[in-house]
């Protein structure tokens, strides 16, 4: 692991540990395991393949070569070695198993579970739910898998019981595409629906699906905040291809927390372990050497200065009272590939 310490513009730059990236490509979408001892991330080689890796992390330092989480298809003569995508890692909050999307050339996009015991990744059975599967997430107790399937046309939200891997509930059945579903602690579900060329946020509560936040542009990748009392999401309502982070504390309410953020490749807004902060990167090159955190009530914003460029895709975890931030960034301007870094930000969030 490489450790860099830099001083820039009189500010102390956080000591950032670099996770060894074992392949050429952009490191993307870091996602911490529930215990903060592993971080999953993607390597996008820009050749049609995306590979999923998991690095072990101890005390903020990654150890060893990250493990590649592959599909067996890569070893067969049918899928070939190219065109394979393993991405969108999501950790089961209780059993520490890693779920992810997987596909190969000519095949469907399916969800897989990897349990780190040497056994090949286990697919969500085709005879239980067919079609392309995406956007995996979990209920609070980890026993229900929420995802989107296009089995009956456009994407609909389903919940699959992991108690038997058979019992499923169809949450939505609209003529539109639903995406990015997430449970709150009470079992309510927030998701987005793409209709009339715009993506809006809906909430499934007490068996009914209701509009939550709409408006101009896309409102996307919602995440429950304040244990379910509010929804935080990305919005492009200002147009011009710019993205903001906003929070909605009630139906049809919204408040912008940060503007001109760098939209993560596929992640939802990243919250701090205590749920009080949202982390993001900014598009402005002058500000993109930092990861920024804003309190959900909007009262405070801080910068985590880094020695890297174009910082983005922050992901936060807490281990033993320490708060660690994983993010991706370019080593320097004009570098080929984004790298993955981990930094201790405990002091910054006091």
């Amino acid at each position: 692991m490489m450790v860099t310490t830099l001083w820039m513009m009189g500010m102390q730059v956080a000591q950032a540990g670099q996770v060894q990236v074992p392949a050429d490509g952009h490191a993307m979408n870091p996602v911490w395991s529930p215990d903060g001892k592993k971080v999953a991330f993607e390597i996008n080689g820009q050749t049609g393949s995306i590979s999923l890796f998991v690095a072990n992390v101890d005390g903020g330092n990654s150890s060893g070569v990250p493990e590649k989480i592959g599909l067996k298809v890569e070893q067969t003569s049918f899928g070939g070695s190219t065109g394979t995508v393993t991405a969108a890692p999501t950790w089961n909050p209780v059993n520490k198993a890693l779920f992810f999307e997987g596909s190969h050339k000519g095949g469907s996009n399916r969800l897989y579970m990897y349990s780190f015991n040497g056994q090949p990744a286990y697919p969500v059975p085709e005879n239980v739910i067919s079609g392309d599967l995406s956007w995996p997430s979990f209920s609070k107790d980890g026993m229900e898998l929420l995802f989107v399937s296009d089995a009956t046309g456009k994407g609909d939200v389903y919940a699959l019981s992991l108690r038997d891997w058979k019992t499923k509930r169809q949450i939505t059945s609209s003529e539109y595409s639903e995406m990015a579903p997430r449970f709150d602690n009470d079992g309510n579900i927030v998701y987005t629906r793409k209709q009339n060329d715009a993506e809006d946020i809906f909430v499934h509560k007490s068996g009914t699906n209701n509009d939550w936040v709409g408006g101009a542009g896309d409102q996307t990748r919602p995440q429950w905040a304040n244990a379910g009392g509010a929804v935080i999401y990305f919005t492009s309502e200002r147009g011009g291809g710019v993205w903001d982070v906003a929070i909605s504390s009630g139906q049809s309410q919204s408040k912008t927390l940060a503007k001109d953020i760098r939209l993560p490749f596929r992640a939802a807004p990243s919250l701090s372990p205590d749920g009080k902060w949202v982390a993001y990167g900014l598009e402005n090159p002058d500000k993109a050497t930092s990861i920024w955190l804003t309190k959900l009530d909007g009262s405070k914003t801080i910068a985590i200065k880094t020695p890297h460029q174009a910082c983005a895709e922050p992901s936060l975890t807490e281990v033993g009272g320490k708060i660690y931030l994983a993010y991706t960034g370019l080593p320097s301007e004009g570098s080929n590939w984004r790298q993955l870094h981990i930094v201790d930000v405990t002091d910054k969030l006091q």
Binding site: G107, N117, G118, Q119, Y122, E126, W165
Partner: protein
């Protein structure tokens, strides 16, 4: 013709045969991969089993790992373990070793038997369904095996199980529990016998081999009769009553068919007859009781019909005998016919023949044991006479 060309020809033919088998196995491997893509694990499993039919070429690591994956997706953890062992024997990789080790970290071997007294086979349930799908599949595999065969021998995930209203726990370190299901209401509803450590590994459950060993004890009373000898100067026919004790094992070949092997003791006793003839009493003859002490060995085929078992098979018995009376030839000069009936005779015999019987064992008499009654008959010959016997006994046998 020189031998050298012949040897070269044979070697070439043999090499070609190995190559042919390897080519066919490679084709089967491609088949396995194709069906794996479709998650058709039943076909992948069948193709893997076809690989064992080849005699000259051996499966590769990739074949064994695909076979293990198929077995895992069908819930057959015993087969997963066997195939991973085969893979590790060819090439030890961290991932394969990790997978292999994870089996003992999450599963334990167990044998579950449902006696035939259950008209309806009870369901096996686990108190807390395991999260991981391979463990759920292993449970489903055990459940189906019990429903199909009244028996499961293999690995199940750790947990607390219920069957027929009773509970038992499978935990780390278990080395092969034997669980015999009892009717609801039985206070000792589920019996657990720990097998020795060396029986830890259950058989690959894909095998049709359903064999098990179970002890057997017969303790009874018997009556025996020795017939007329075809030879002269042999003991006269004799008989008696006594005891017959046998101990052995039953080796289950299938759910209904088994082999029984027993060794035991056969004692038969009868009173002698005091002489009354004048001229015999005067020379000191007295009544000589019949004392028959035999050791037997019996091998029988057994067919079970619910709680009733029918057995038949060959038997050999060695015995030392004391009895009274000798059959004299017409040209006997030494004894008169009257004297011969009172002469004490001692000797030994080795007789072989056939023995069979019926056992009814429907009572639970202990952990994994059934009790009941048996009746046996047998007929053996030492070449000169027939020895016949009958027995009624208490029988205790393993389930």
């Amino acid at each position: 013709m020189s031998l050298l060309p012949l040897i070269v020809l044979i070697q070439t033919a043999d090499a070609a045969s190995v190559e042919e088998e390897q080519a066919e196995m490679a084709r089967i491997l491609e088949d396995m991969k194709q069906f794996r893509e479709k998650a058709n694990w039943v076909v992948v499993e069948k193709r893997y089993q076809q690989l064992s039919e080849f005699s000259k070429a051996s499966p590769t690591v990739e074949m064994h790992l695909l076979g293990a994956e198929a077995a895992s997706n069908l819930g057959n953890v015993s087969a997963v373990k066997t195939r991973l062992e085969a893979s590790l024997a060819l090439e030890e990789t961290d991932k394969t070793k990790q997978w292999y080790d994870s089996i003992d970290a999450n599963y334990a071997p167990v044998t579950i038997k449902v006696p035939k007294k259950f008209d309806e086979i009870p369901d096996l349930n686990i108190l807390t369904m395991p999260f991981f799908p391979d463990q759920q599949l292993a449970l489903a595999f055990a459940q189906k095996s019990i429903q199909d065969n009244r028996k499961f021998q293999g690995y199940v995930p750790f947990g607390e199980y219920t069957i027929a209203g009773s509970t038992f726990t499978v935990a780390s370190g278990d080395s092969g529990e034997v669980v015999v299901v009892r009717p609801i209401g039985n206070t000792d509803a589920v019996a657990k016998n720990t097998k020795p450590k060396d029986s830890k590994k259950p058989k690959d459950s894909t095998s049709s081999d359903d064999s098990t060993l179970a002890m057997r004890l017969d303790l009874g009373v018997s009556a025996a009769s020795a017939g007329e000898s075809s030879a002269v100067n042999q003991a006269q026919p004799f008989g008696g009553v006594g005891t017959r004790v046998g101990i052995g094992v039953g080796y289950g070949l299938s759910d209904a068919l088994s082999l029984v092997a027993e060794v035991g003791y056969h004692g038969s006793f009868g009173a002698g007859e005091a002489p009354v003839l004048s001229g015999v009493t005067s020379v000191g003859y007295d009544a000589t009781p019949t004392l028959y002490h035999g050791a037997f060995g019996w091998l029988a085929a057994s067919m079970a019909f619910n709680d009733v078992e029918v057995l038949v098979g060959p038997i050999t018995e060695f015995a030392t005998i004391q009895t009274q009376g000798i059959s004299l030839g017409t040209d006997s000069m030494e004894y008169s016919q009257g004297q011969g009936d009172y002469i004490p005779v001692e000797g030994s015999i080795l007789a072989s023949g056939l023995s069979g019987g019926i056992t009814y064992a429907g009572m639970n008499v202990g952990e994994g044991l059934l009790g009941g009654v048996s009746t046996y008959v047998g007929a053996q010959s030492d070449g000169a006479r027939w020895y016949t016997w009958g027995q009624v006994s208490l029988t205790i046998k393993g389930q």
